[in-house]
């Protein structure tokens, strides 16, 4: 199938689903109170953007996502590198890291709210804990799998310990950060929105929370729609970043199935 035809059918599928939803609610097969009305949902979304009402919330959610990602990836990179290069520390800490990783970390949200208040930092903290472990494990694994041949070669060419870190470990660790980029940006976003949803004064999660309190199901759907669009935009930005940074990577020149 050509790309244009594919695109046509994709749009058709979407329109079909929305129409079905509309008809089901219109003929009262589904109660509009619980299922909303697509027309109103789109109208509400449009109004948010047209009036500019949404931008401060969008901005705050994006800011939190970005900061959560940068901090989480930074700590993950540093921690993964440090632990992979310190066999003693890594065997000492291994069970604790496993425990922290298997803990459902979303549940930390109330604790972060107590520690960091209801401002942006409690949301960022939640995003960071989600991102950190993804990046951390990728880097940890990546550093331990650095080609012994590349290492031996660098040493024969005269690299000292610091130069090995800079020219061998760090670049290969970074490539592992990038290989988990889609997942970690997605998780930063999830963490932040969940944080907002559980208690905040601004952000898309807050809009949803507020609408839910008023049983305004259409606004809840509008919020979800905005979140979805935002997530898609973030993901395509990540793809673009990936392509420009990982030019050397064979993996990036091949197409990967799905995201």
């Amino acid at each position: 199938m050509s790309y244009r035809r594919l695109l046509f059918f994709r749009v058709l599928l979407f329109a079909g689903l929305v129409t079905t939803w509309h008809l089901l609610v219109q003929f009262e097969v589904l109660p509009a109170f619980f299922f909303g009305e697509p027309a109103v949902v789109f109208q509400r979304t449009w109004h948010w953007f047209a009036s500019g009402e949404i931008y401060p919330h969008l901005g705050i959610t994006l800011l939190e996502t970005l900061v959560a990602f940068v901090l989480g990836a930074g700590f993950g990179l540093g921690g993964g590198l440090w632990l992979a290069l310190n066999p003693t520390a890594s065997s000492l800490l291994e069970p604790y890291i496993k425990a922290l990783n298997s803990m459902p970390r979303v549940i930390l949200a109330p604790i972060f709210a107590v520690w960091f208040g209801l401002g942006i930092w409690s949301k960022i903290a939640l995003g960071v804990t989600l991102v950190f472990f993804i990046v951390f494990f990728n880097v940890y694994q990546g550093v331990r799998e650095v080609s012994p041949l590349v290492l031996a070669n660098a040493r024969m060419l005269g690299a000292n310990a610091r130069q090995l870190l800079r020219t061998v470990y760090l670049p290969s660790a970074t490539s592992w950060v990038f290989s988990s980029l889609h997942t970690s940006v997605g998780l930063a976003f999830v963490g932040v929105v969940v944080g907002e949803y559980l208690g905040s004064a601004r952000g898309i999660g807050y809009l949803i929370l507020q609408a839910e309190g008023l049983f305004d199901i259409n606004t809840v759907f509008a919020g979800i729609l905005v979140l979805t669009i935002l997530a898609l935009i973030l993901d395509s930005l990540v793809s673009r970043l990936e392509r420009s940074v990982l030019r050397w990577n064979v993996r990036s020149t091949q197409t990967s199935p799905g995201a």
Binding site: V150, A152, N153, M156, L157, G158, T167, V168, S175, R247
Partner: protein
Amino acid sequence: MAVDSGPAGAAPRSQPAIAFEHVDCTFRTPDGIAYTALRDLNLQVADGEFVAVVGPTGCGKSTILNLAAGLLTPTSGRVSVHGIPLAGLNRHAGYLFQADPLMPWRTAIRNVALGLEYRGVDRPTAEQRATEWLARVGLAGRGDVYPHQLSGGMRKRVSLAQTLILDPEIVLMDEPFSALDVQTRVLMENELLEIWAANRKSVLFITHDLEEAILLADRVVVLAAGPGTHALGEFLIDLPRPRDLAELRTTPRFSTLYHDIWQVMKDEVLKSYAQHKSRG
């Protein structure tokens, strides 16, 4: 990290560049089985000498280079460089590995410049010299591509430039030209001989190609089939220098040398083949 084997140039010149004395090398596999790759190996490379080592596959040729590089330590016996026992990495040596050791995240030119950067040469100067070296190995204008965009033979030549740009006193080479086509191979061999003649490096050159060994080397060492490899014989190659590689092949002296060495090698190759067949 390992200790260096002393400052460069402090060693007396009369000593051999590399000497293996009664070297044993035993590998222990994870399941506890010991495999003795080398047993009582004696081998010397005089200062400025070009020594080629030939032997059947799996006999321990790469192991010898790893020992000479200081990446491995012998189980018993001694490896010395300019008469000083080797402790840690061999800082006098450049090592051209058998497999591809390039950094996939660096372009060809940045790979070649790597050693200079480690030595604190500033980046423009290092890249300037790397460009010259890329041209020397026939890769002019290919500096900006990444290793995965190069062919196996091209990567090999990038590695060659990466090693030789540092002008090491001792050059360890593990089948450097086996991935190249015949024409490129002769060009590279000539280039190597030229570099070697210009400042008399000591070369330990591994190959499975007897013809190449005779054409390039001052001395050819034939190894026995493993396990427990040792030197079966050494042959002085008295072909005049400078050598014209294309012409030399057709001379009677070359044929005689080839015939003599092949007689010694043949039995080992067959033995090794029989072993691999029964093992696999």
